[in-house]
């Protein structure tokens, strides 16, 4: 009796401690998500807010017919299929390389790798748009031309824009790199020693010891990259304004509908589709995680 009331008391203290987050969750996440759904059932437009009317599932019916939406959705998924693994592999390789004790000044290098991820979005865009500019930039002048490669067409063409998005994604690896580096430093030294005694080489050690032990960090990095492609910002802030939406095609399209046409009902419908897509992918990842993410026994 005493014990259970003690536990209940501790539980109440815990609830009190987390209450700010719970209130914030209800006010800033739960209610807005539900309200978004209600909005998506109306033809609400910021330009004529007084004409708001309930139109049922008409927005969703229109969405199914919206060719631009499908092309930006597939474009975004395609981009995710390229950039998410690319970022993960790049971050993993750099983290593995920089965890070698043979490297002089590796903490300094780590900081340099993290640097592009903490500079403001406008700085990132200014420098990359300037750098790849077909006439005045350096990409064609100093890299493509001397190497005899075809010139970069500029960010306004579709292929040029996609190439730029892929290049930019490599400058987004900071948080993943940080988490993977931290995890690699946390791998118990005895594991490596034991493998070394058994004659295991560095590649074998990376695949059979490091990767399984740091799998929770890999999982977390995967989630961060995924969210960034869909226009979110976790530990990384890349968008300049809500209306620019440069992170991916679908991010751009929502911004266009929301701020260009100010059709908030329709925009809410697209946001809901994206919400379900991202949640679907995340839940799928969490389900498969049981099979490949290794949890230490407490």
């Amino acid at each position: 009796m005493f014990k259970s009331s003690y536990k209940a008391k501790r539980g109440r203290i815990g609830l009190l401690l987390i209450s700010p987050w719970v209130i914030g969750f209800v006010l800033l996440k739960l209610l807005p998500v539900l309200a978004s759904f209600v909005f998506s059932l109306t033809d609400f437009n910021m330009l004529k807010p007084q004409d708001i009317g309930f139109i049922g599932l008409q927005n969703y019916a229109a969405l199914l017919q919206d060719e631009t939406l499908w092309s930006v959705l597939f474009g975004t998924i395609g981009l995710a299929i390229i950039t998410v693994p690319l970022q993960l592999v790049f971050a993993l390789l750099l983290a593995a390389l920089l965890s070698s004790e043979a490297i002089i000044g590796r903490n300094f290098y780590r900081t340099l790798i993290f640097l592009p991820s903490i500079i403001p979005g406008i700085a990132v865009f200014s420098v990359w748009f300037g750098f790849v500019d077909p006439t005045s930039g350096w990409l064609n002048q100093l890299i493509m031309e001397p190497l005899g490669l075809p010139p970069y067409p500029g960010p306004n063409s579709e292929s040029g824009r996609n190439l730029l998005l892929i290049l930019l994604s490599l400058w987004n690896i900071g948080p993943a790199f940080l988490i993977l580096s931290g995890a690699m430093m946390g791998v118990p030294k005895e594991l490596y020693e034991a493998a070394r005694v058994d004659g295991a080489g560095p590649v074998y050690r990376l695949i059979n010891i490091t990767l399984p032990v740091i799998s929770p960090a890999i999982f977390f990095s995967l989630l961060i990259s995924l969210i960034t492609v869909f226009g979110g910002s976790v530990l990384l802030d890349r968008s300049i304004s809500f209306s620019s939406g440069f992170q991916s095609p679908v991010d751009w399209y929502i911004a266009e509908i929301m701020f260009g046409k100010q059709a908030l009902g329709y925009a809410a419908g697209i946001a809901w589709i994206m919400f379900m897509l991202v949640m679907g992918i995340a839940i799928y990842l969490f389900k498969t995680a049981d099979r490949w993410v290794f949890y230490p026994v407490d």
Binding site: G11, K29, L115, F242
Partner: protein, 343 residues
């Protein structure tokens, strides 16, 4: 002996590889720096070299004339273009001006000008004239400082609650917390915008930028909770027997052992809020004098748009986070440890 040599060769190779990778990775930053210090005249000039430079101009009889490379039958000479004409021009040899005018036939436009290294901080001083850096500094300090206080205190308390207390349905709540990390921002944007503007009348104030942080940040709570759980329960039990309350235990047992993570989390928030321009550009549209630094420079981008000004702007906005990153690098790179998502 030979094994040691191979060991050293391997070490040198791996160091060179890392150096090369980092140089290539950060190469665009050199473009940023060199473009920012270029003279404006260089941008319209197709002959201009990549390096910051300007045309050499020398004085002849009280006036400045540009130096050009002029080809003659017996080789090239560097001469001042004094009298440009379409088919023939007149030059002066700066080494021997007393020799008088030199005639040269051909189009002077095809001649190559002589350049010298030259860099200027004009692009930066332009910004200092446009922006009131005292006002902007005050705004930045207020927004960064207030959100930092709110987000760190609340996130530490919430993470402590999740990590150490038998909260009813705690696991479900924690899964919801992880869910909010991956929640696409656009879906909450429309209703919150509507509520902030129409219900709370927050247009043109700092409230939309600051208030949400006082409910904690899901990803920071997640990182803190991970770390708090690594502290052995026995340490807490000893303090409990001594009659310490929950807050005493947080301050005397948990925080002394986890402060590097708390500082790391504070730094992550700093980088985030420093770079934040979306909310500012949405809610401070009607109050241009309330913008923090980055969004303020973003909003005024239309006033000066030379390539050098754009890169100077990029440098000005990134200088503080870069300095903070390098000053804190020692433990910052060790502070984030992820072990298990659900446990």
């Amino acid at each position: 002996m030979s094994l040691r040599i191979w060991d050293n060769v391997g070490k040198i190779t791996i160091n060179l590889i890392v150096l090369l990778v980092v140089v290539v990775y950060l190469f665009p930053i050199s473009y940023m720096v060199l473009t920012a210090v270029k003279d404006e005249a260089q941008f319209g000039d197709p002959n201009a070299p990549v390096w910051p430079s300007r045309k050499v101009e020398l004085d002849y009889e009280g006036e400045l004339y540009p130096l050009h490379i002029v080809p003659f039958e017996d080789g090239e000479r560097e001469l001042l273009l004094v009298q440009p004409r379409r088919n023939e021009s007149q030059f002066i040899d700066p080494a021997a001006p007393e020799a008088g005018l030199i005639e040269w036939e051909g189009s002077w436009r095809k001649l190559e000008p002589v350049y010298e290294n030259y860099f200027t901080f004009q692009a930066f001083t332009d910004w200092f004239e446009i922006l009131d850096f005292r006002q902007v500094g005050y705004n930045t300090l207020a927004v960064v400082g207030l959100t930092e206080i709110g987000v760190v205190i609340v996130s530490v308390l919430v993470a402590y609650g999740f990590a150490r207390f038998p909260i009813p349905y705690g696991n479900v709540l924690f899964l919801i917390l992880i869910g909010t990390i991956i929640l696409p921002e656009k879906i909450t944007l429309i209703p919150t915008y509507f509520a902030f503007i129409n219900l709370l009348d927050w247009q043109g104030t700092w409230w939309p930028l600051i208030a949400p942080h006082f409910f904690g940040s899901a990803v920071l709570i997640f990182l803190l909770r991970q770390n708090f759980r690594t502290i052995p329960k026995e340490l807490e039990d000893a303090a409990l027997i001594d009659g310490a309350g929950p807050l005493r235990i947080l301050f005397s047992v948990i925080l002394p052992m986890t402060w590097p993570t708390v500082v790391t989390v504070a730094l992550l928030h700093f980088f985030f809020i420093w770079n934040e321009t979306r909310l500012a550009s949405l809610y401070l549209l009607s109050a241009p004098d309330k913008h923090p630094l980055v969004s303020s420079m973003l909003a005024r981008g239309g006033f000066i748009s030379g390539a050098n000004n754009l890169q100077a702007r990029a440098l000005i906005t990134m200088i503080v986070p870069t300095a903070v990153l390098f000053l804190s690098q020692k433990f910052f790179m060790r502070g984030v440890q992820i072990t298990g998502l659900e446990k």
